[in-house]
Amino acid sequence: MTTDTTTAEAAAVSAPGETVLDARGVTMRFGGLTAVRSVDLTVNSGEIVGLIGPNGAGKTTFFNCLTGLYIPTEGEVRYKGNVLPAKSFKITATGIARTFQNIRLFSNMTVLENVLVGRHTRTKEGLWSALLRGPGFHRAEAESKARAMELLEFVGLDHKAEHLSRNLPYGEQRKLEIARALASEPGLLLLDEPTAGMNPQETRAAEELIFAIRDKGIAVLVIEHDMRFIFNLCDRVACLVQGEKLVEGTAAEVQGDDRVVAAYLGEPFEGDPGAAEVAEVEAAEAAAAAETTEATTPEATAPAAEATTEDAPAAPGESTSKENDR
């Protein structure tokens, strides 16, 4: 957490090892529901960090907190030492770009136009400039176009620049979304399930693409369900379960962690009546204990949940990843 970093505006390639993203105690509540509970996460430059967790664990909510779609109820998010503004378009300007879980391209714009829209924060021409069309306007447009074509070439879509983005095949739409995000010259790229719906070849290609993005000096935070993909790709992996960060570490550490396996398979509650019974009994005991000690309910149920996950039979990590492969 250095304070003398370059201004957020620059969003340029940062020195390796520098903390790019620093989320501290991020909590997001929707009414009574706590979707994300006090999650800490740092991403350093030149690093690919994975975020995994079962469906409904709060991964996308956490992403939305990072990109300003939601304002976290508690906690703060810093990008290169500066607290993020509360508006999503300002966050993009500071240097965080994202893709969406369900592809959200501008489907009736061409591929090139999509990327040009991504350049919005890095260009300045307003309405007057557009109406008067001075030399500066033409220069900026030409520059934007050249940069956009470069990015399309980078993701391998330059030959389809004039196609409508809605007419691209699914895998290419994902690529285009990444190119559009890269067009804002981010220091950190957030990818929300970049391989969802892809076949193995496309997934491999996406892997290559993300490595190439990392090599450009852009830090990447990626949500994914495809375990083989995640463990191949990421330097560090964090596992989110029921809104809380369960474990964080290298791919091998997370892969071998029993709690992660249990969270994914949900063994104690499904298909193992014995464990469920144990859990029930323990929950009842905990509740009784809570009554006597006049403790609040969340504190009481937490140890119970802890106990049940530890009771789960430890499946080997390999089988977990197989389970989640497509």
């Binding site: 469906n55 378009f89 993009t92 714009m109 040009l116 919005h120 557009a130 809605r166 995000a181």
Partner: protein
């Protein structure tokens, strides 16, 4: 269960002959259609009725009159397409996309126009007894052409018969949709081969000829003197335009205009400016200038609705603000301000006032999306009218003179040129409305340039991005509220420009001119309809839509009672069969008509 039944029944369906329902073998059909066309042309030169009581004088042998001209044009079109279908050298260029659909539509045009004309004669003069032999020739000729065109071969699309288990209504619906798909099959075109590259000056010449033709058609439509002729014009123009489009000529021309955009723009304005010179008096220049005002405001609305996707139902209020602001400083004796600014200042005052109102109304409302925005803008439109109505010195401060409005707005004088007087330029008489027509044309030019330049820039892309997906646009760093506010304010400013001219054209501004729905355009409902009808996001779309929406009510006075009904019906039909509008931009054409090419968007349930 039902599916298996249908599939078993479907099997014999393709066995039906491809030309079922046709009476003639293909080569005879083609000859018949062409001959029918030629005969139609001849029949237009005959006398159709004995008395000149029917307008247009159809009694002369050897010279067509009135509606006969329209029949002549559609017959000639049919003949030309027919000859072109034989591959006659020199006529091939007429039908790059295949001649048969064009022949069909041209035959419909000839048939509908001729039969309508003769029907109108019989009705007007009281019976078929008033027809001369020429009329029967025309009836027969167009019928022959139609039968020939009907029998042309086409690829019959596969249809499935209705499920006998369905209710009668469902079967009826199914058969109807089958028939519709067969009908569409008869008009299916083959993709045109790439056009030969011509020297640049020839291409520009072609564009010029097309523009001149456009001016001629438009002038003919605007100067039609009686209802029957205008209806005949609509029939011929509608079918004829469809035929030309199916032939692929429109596509050819639009590639040319796209290649020479500036030439086209300049040419179109020269053509428009030539309109008053085709007139001997001011009678139709009035319609011309009103069409321009209406179409220009519609184009301004197209920025808000077509580009930024903000449904604004109170847009006419900005026209009103501009008109009132300009009227207040016009030196009108009923204006409480009592000052007279030169026009360039007045138009700036009008535009600025509209912009200020645009920002004031936009700032609170643009935080809403979709339906809510529409409702709120509708409300603000009414607030404007009622506020103006009440600023009369009794209910509120005296600013607008209430329901009497600001009247006797003096005519403009610029550089010693009196807009109210009739001038003679190079032997042509240019009346008051023609003067304003030229002035308004300048404003239209400004609006067109503003539209084009802003649409093709960073800000224009941001508007379209917001229309497509506001959340994603914000994630790309676009300040949604600010961008929308710019669109709203720009649209308002352009309406204000038009309003400042309108105040002077109409002498008087009253609150009743600026309602949501009203029998006379411009009003918010008609403006929106002009944009939707013409084609959202295009420049020529609102101009064409505006011209049609103004011209049809102005010309067909006899149906003024049913005008809104007919208008609603037309809008429903258009949205059903051509949702992208009369003039579609590439994007929307793809959006509505290439469903099969759209990729399946796989959504995955996830965290």
């Amino acid at each position: 269960m039902t599916t298996t039944q249908t599939t078993t029944v479907t099997a014999p369906a393709p066995a039906t002959p491809a030309t079922r329902g046709s009476l003639l073998p293909p080569h005879i059909a083609r000859a018949t259609a062409t001959a029918g066309g030629a005969l139609t042309v001849v029949s237009a030169f005959l006398a159709w009725t004995w008395t000149s009581a029917f307008p247009g004088d159809l009694t002369v042998y050897g010279y067509p009159g009135g509606l006969q001209w329209l029949v002549l044009v559609s017959g000639a079109l049919l003949t030309l397409f027919g000859l072109s279908s034989y591959g006659i050298k020199g006529l091939n260029w007429l039908t790059p996309q295949g001649a048969d659909p064009a022949i069909r539509l041209a035959a419909y045009a000839a048939f509908a126009t001729a039969w309508f004309t003769i029907g109108a004669i019989s009705t007007k003069l009281g019976g078929a007894v008033n027809l001369e032999p020429g009329a029967y020739v025309a009836l027969a000729a167009t019928l022959i052409g139609w039968l020939g065109a009907r029998s042309l071969p086409y690829e019959r699309p596969e249809t499935s018969p209705a499920d006998p288990d369905d209710s009668a209504f469902d079967q009826f619906k199914h058969n109807l949709s089958n028939r519709w798909s067969v009908y569409k099959g008869t008009l299916a075109t083959t993709p045109a081969p790439p056009a030969k590259t011509l020297p640049s000056y020839i291409e520009i010449l072609i564009v010029a000829v097309v523009l001149a033709l456009g001016l001629a058609v438009f002038t003919y439509g605007i100067t039609t003197e009686y209802d029957q002729l205008f209806i005949g014009f609509l029939i011929t123009a509608g079918f004829g335009f469809a035929a030309i489009q199916k032939a692929g000529l429109i596509q050819r021309v639009s590639t040319l205009t796209a290649r020479h955009r500036n030439v086209t723009l300049v040419g179109a304005f020269v053509a428009a400016a030539a309109f008053p010179f085709t007139q001997s008096d001011d009678q139709y220049a009035t319609i011309g200038v009103n069409i321009l005002i209406f179409a220009t405001v519609a184009l301004g609305l197209n920025i808000v609705v077509g580009l930024a996707g903000l449904l604004d139902l109170g847009y006419v209020a900005f026209l009103g603000v501009g008109a009132y602001a300009a009227a207040l400083v016009s030196g009108s004796p009923t204006s409480p301000l009592g000052i007279q600014l030169p026009f360039w200042q007045a138009i700036l005052v009008g535009a600025t006032a509209s912009m200020v109102f645009g920002v004031l109304i936009g700032a609170p409302t643009l935080r809403l999306r979709g339906d809510y925005l529409a409702i709120v803008t509708l409300g603000f439109g009414e607030i404007f009218r009622i506020a103006v109505l009440n600023l009369d010195g009794t209910s509120g401060p005296d600013v607008t003179n209430g329901s009497n409005g600001i009247s006797s707005i003096p005519n403009l004088t610029m550089f010693g040129f009196d807009f109210g007087a009739t001038h003679t330029i190079a032997g042509f008489t240019i009346g008051r409305f023609a003067n304003y027509f030229f002035l308004m044309l300048l404003v239209t030019l400004v609006v067109v340039v503003v539209f084009r330049r802003s649409a093709e820039s960073r800000i224009g892309r941001a508007w379209v991005a917001i229309r497509e997906d506001e959340t994603a646009a914000e994630a790309m760093g676009i300040n949604g509220f600010r961008t929308k506010l710019i669109a709203f304010a720009l649209g308002a400013t352009l309406a204000g420009l038009a309003g400042a001219v309108q105040a002077h054209v109409t002498y008087t501004v009253t609150p009743e001119q600026y309602q949501f729905a009203h029998a006379v355009p411009p009003n918010s409902a008609f403006l929106l309809a002009a944009v939707v009808l013409g084609g959202m996001g295009t420049i020529s779309g609102p101009l064409v839509g505006g011209a049609l929406l103004f011209l049809i009510p102005a010309k067909l006075q006899f149906m003024s009672d049913y005008q809104l009904f007919a208008f609603g019906l037309a809008l429903v039909l258009l949205m059903r069969f051509r949702p992208e509008g009369l003039i579609a931009n590439r994007r929307r054409q793809l959006e509505f008509h290439e469903k099969d090419e759209a990729p399946a968007t796989l959504t995955k349930a996830g965290a």
